[in-house]
């Protein structure tokens, strides 16, 4: 979720640099929501995303904090209260390094809080690490185990 078109473009460019397999297909699919409402509509398959297949919930959610309307932290709060997203990895990716934002983010149950570096190289590296860690290496609990936990 990101509201600035430049940032969206740069992030997509960054991801595209390490999201290409040798056979030309992608490791992962990226969906962009431009504000909080859109993000929630997408995640809960409602509004203009009501026809989204239910089984295709995202494996990783990247959130910006400062957004017009519903903020990233509010989105975080909303999805964490919902059963199906309780254990989905959520990473906050933002320019702010305010202590209050960081603490608030972790209090609401974010898995990782990352500050966007100014250097594009560093940014690309960070995106790569995110992809590597959360989508390739990190093992989420199996659905059966989750239902057992509840």
């Amino acid at each position: 979720m990101e509201d600035n078109p430049d940032d969206i473009e740069l992030a997509l460019l960054g991801f595209s640099r390490n999201n290409r397999q040798e056979n030309g297909s992608h490791y992962y699919v990226i969906e962009v929501a431009r504000n909080g409402e859109e993000a929630l509509d997408f995640l809960f398959a409602r509004g203009k995303f009501s026809d989204r297949p239910v089984g295709s919930n995202p494996n990783l959610i990247l959130l910006d904090v400062n957004l017009p309307g519903i903020s990233g932290l509010e989105v975080l709060q909303e999805i964490r209260s919902h059963r199906s997203y309780q254990h989905t990895p959520v990473v906050i990716l933002t320019t702010s390094d305010e202590t209050s934002d960081i603490i608030e983010g972790y209090n609401l149950g974010v898995n990782s809080y990352l500050q966007k570096p100014v250097s594009f190289n560093a940014f690309v590296e960070l995106l790569q690490q995110i992809g590597q860690y959360w989508l390739k290496n990190n093992i989420t609990p199996p659905k059966s185990a989750l239902s057992a936990l509840r």
């Binding site: 320019t95 305010e98 100014v118 250097s119 594009f120």
Partner: protein, 524 residues
């Protein structure tokens, strides 16, 4: 009227427990005692005289009667003898007369008695009755004469009664007279004085004590008393007046003090109001600053990152289509964005150093600065460093802020002495006007004191960026932190001769402005 009143007073004086009564008793006792002694003496002499009169009469009997009685007895002329005896008997005070014939010559001697003899209060005499026969004295009998003292005692008793009565009356009259005199001269004045003293008011002026005396010949003890009393009274009045005035003054003072206290209360409330207002303003300013630094961290950094992102893509993905000059411009853009990113970071650090609660405790500053310098040495171990750190320097500081401050000073010294073969860094204290002044000095490039005023302003730099890197925020941070520690900071230097930064902590007069004045104050 006055006389009656006085008489009543006198009577009441006698009756009551007063000086007059006691005086009367004393006079009566003493006078009675004297009277008793005098009367006794008088009576005794009277008695003596009466007795001597009787005795001389008895002696006269011897010379007047004895010869004729002798003749009568010798002749046994009883009749004559009785006549003679009656003659003696009729003499004054003679109680009884008895004639006895000498017993050795006759078996039945003649005994004649006139009057009844007494056993008490009498004087007895016996005379031998001698008759001359043939030139030979012969005792033919004895004459007994007894004189009575009854009359003497009777007279004495009458005298005693008269004397006692007259003396008693005299004593009583004299006593009364003395009493009246005492009353007239003393007691009534004492009563007057008592009445006056009972009535007299010290608060207001009244008439002086004046006794009603006509016999004002010269001053006596009572006048002394009156004078002393009036003197005391005027002194008292003066003292009372002084006291009253002092009280009035005190009242005025108390009023003034109360007014001052009210004023202080009022000023305090105004001050409190001001403090509240200032606090609110400060809080608002702090919130504004927090919002500002937030927007700096977020909003300024975001476009910068975009510039850098797109520049990077241009530089990497479009290498072939951009010529060397274009690539050069792209590198200039890169340098600019990096510089701006550094400035934003240091600006954020600066704004954060002036926020947050301070936790002031006593720390060893010598150890603190030694550790910081050690960190710099570890990063550049090839540099030769000579340190002179004064040991055991303690100060009350907030550790986190103070470490940031010292790091900035050391960083400054470290940076500007880079071109020297040996870096010298000193830390120590010195006393200036009773205040402890801390200093950190180096042997680096130094600066021109003419520009010292700009030293502590944010983003102000005295050296070209090519010579020494930096954002121009370090000394501003130092100044802010020192200011939060109630101190001031200043620098002294000359180009090429190193720089010394002096700072104080918790100065007594808190005129810590924004610190620039202190620095500029050192300018020549």
């Amino acid at each position: 009227m006055r006389v009656i009143e006085h008489k009543d007073n006198v009577i009441s004086a006698i009756k009551g427990r007063s000086i007059a009564r006691r005086l009367l008793v004393y006079i009566i006792f003493f006078s009675s005692f004297i009277t008793l002694i005098a009367t006794s003496i008088q009576l005794y002499t009277d008695f003596k005289r009466d007795v001597s009169v009787i005795e001389s009469r008895l002696n006269e009997i011897e010379s007047g009667y004895l010869a004729s009685i002798s003749a009568s007895l010798w002749n046994m002329d009883v009749r004559q003898l009785e006549l003679q005896m009656d003659g003696i008997k009729h003499l004054p005070d003679i109680q009884s007369v008895r004639v006895e014939e000498a017993s050795e010559q006759f078996a039945n001697p003649l005994q004649l008695t006139r009057g009844t003899p007494l056993t008490i209060r009498q004087i007895s005499r016996e005379y031998p009755i001698i008759h001359r026969v043939n030139d030979e004295d012969r005792m033919i009998g004895t004459l007994y004469v007894q004189a009575s003292l009854t009359e003497v005692f009777k007279r004495l008793w009458e005298k005693v009664i008269v004397i006692f009565f007259s003396q008693g009356v005299k004593t009583f009259i004299v006593s009364l007279f003395i009493l009246c005199i005492v009353y007239y001269l003393v007691t009534r004045h004492l009563t007057d004085i008592a009445r006056y003293v009972r009535k007299v008011q010290v608060e207001e002026d009244g008439p002086h004590l004046q006794l009603q005396r006509n016999d004002k010949a010269e001053n006596d003890e009572l006048d002394d008393v009156v004078q002393a009393f009036n003197g005391m009274m005027s002194n008292l009045r003066k003292a009372y007046e002084d006291l009253r005035q002092t009280n009035a003054q005190l009242e005025i003072d108390i009023l003034a003090r109360k007014r001052a206290e009210q004023e202080v209360l009022y000023l305090n409330s105004v001050l409190e109001q001001k403090v509240r207002q200032r606090t609110a303003e400060l809080e608002a300013a702090n919130k504004e600053l927090a919002a500002f630094s937030y927007s700096v961290s977020h909003d300024l950094r975001a476009p910068l990152r975009r510039i850098e992102g797109f520049r990077r893509i241009l530089a990497e993905d479009y290498q072939q289509t951009i010529d060397d000059k274009g690539r050069h411009y792209l590198s200039r853009i890169e340098a600019g964005t990096h510089e701006m990113a550094d400035m934003i970071d240091s600006f954020l650090r600066l704004s954060r150093t002036t926020q947050g609660e301070m936790d002031v405790k006593r720390y060893n500053i010598s150890e603190m600065i030694s550790l910081i310098i050690k960190g710099f040495q570890e990063r550049e171990p090839e540099r030769k460093v000579e340190l002179r750190i004064e040991q055991e320097v303690y100060a009350d500081v907030d550790k986190r802020f103070f470490e940031v401050m010292l790091t900035n000073l050391v960083d400054n010294a470290w940076k500007y002495s880079r071109q020297k073969t040996v870096t010298e860094i000193r830390f120590g204290t010195q006393q200036e006007e009773g205040e402890c002044v801390y200093y950190v000095s180096d042997n680096g490039a130094g600066f021109d004191m003419n520009y010292a005023g700009r030293l502590f302003s944010p983003f102000a730099r005295l050296h070209k960026a090519e010579e020494f890197e930096g954002t121009g925020i370090g000394l501003t941070t130092v100044q802010r932190i020192i200011s939060r520690h109630g101190g001031q900071v200043r620098a002294s230097s000359a180009p090429g001769e190193g720089a010394t930064f002096y700072f104080t902590l918790w100065t007594r007069e808190k005129n810590s402005g924004d610190g620039n004045h202190t620095a500029s104050g050192r300018q020549s």
